[in-house]
Symmetry: C2
Subunit: 111 residues, 2 copies
């Protein structure tokens, strides 16, 4: 399992990625991350909800309640225009970061 200290800074990006597809809520996001990563990464609840509030505070996502009264009371989130913009920036940043770290991560001595 991946230590989340490594993914730090990309939880927000993953959440936004999933919200691009459709509005969603905590538990579903969590489940999708686990599924997409095939269990390699499982986001902690605290991390997830603190990410939600941070993203909302920054205007990258908006919360709302489902119209259907039959449904369980839960908070849904949808991505905003600013959120999409931010997501794209993070993607660019990721390519750059990945290229830099790749330079330092390879075997040098074989002993």
């Amino acid at each position: 399992m991946i230590s989340s200290d490594v993914i730090r800074g990309y939880n927000d990006t993953m959440i936004l990625f999933l919200l691009l597809e459709e509005p969603s809520y905590g538990y579903e996001i969590s489940r999708k991350i686990r599924e997409i990563s095939e269990g390699r990464y499982v986001i902690k609840e605290t991390t997830l909800y603190s990410a939600f509030s941070r993203l909302e505070k920054n205007g990258y996502i908006e919360s709302f309640y489902s119209d259907e009264t039959t449904e369980k009371k839960r908070t849904y989130y949808r991505i905003t225009r600013e959120g999409l913009e931010y997501y794209r920036e993070k993607c660019e940043e990721w390519y750059l970061t990945r290229s830099v770290i790749d330079l330092f991560v390879r075997d040098r001595k074989e002993d």
Copy 2:
């Protein structure tokens, strides 16, 4: 410029990578990181020195002073067996992490 929150957790790995080549010291490590990354990443002094002390505390590097008395007083570091081990683990972790983040970083909607 890359946000250092992203590389967080890989500063140690970069330092160890450079120490694999030869023992070195703060300023040189800093310079090499800047050079290798072609200026895309510049490690902060405070980050660097706190990484040194953390790595030494964990037994991944050892400090020593140069024999040459003519040389400027500076602390050198060399990587230990445990450091090499740790470096290898971080490399493996990186490949895994990279593969996971890659799944969430790609354009989904083109609007």
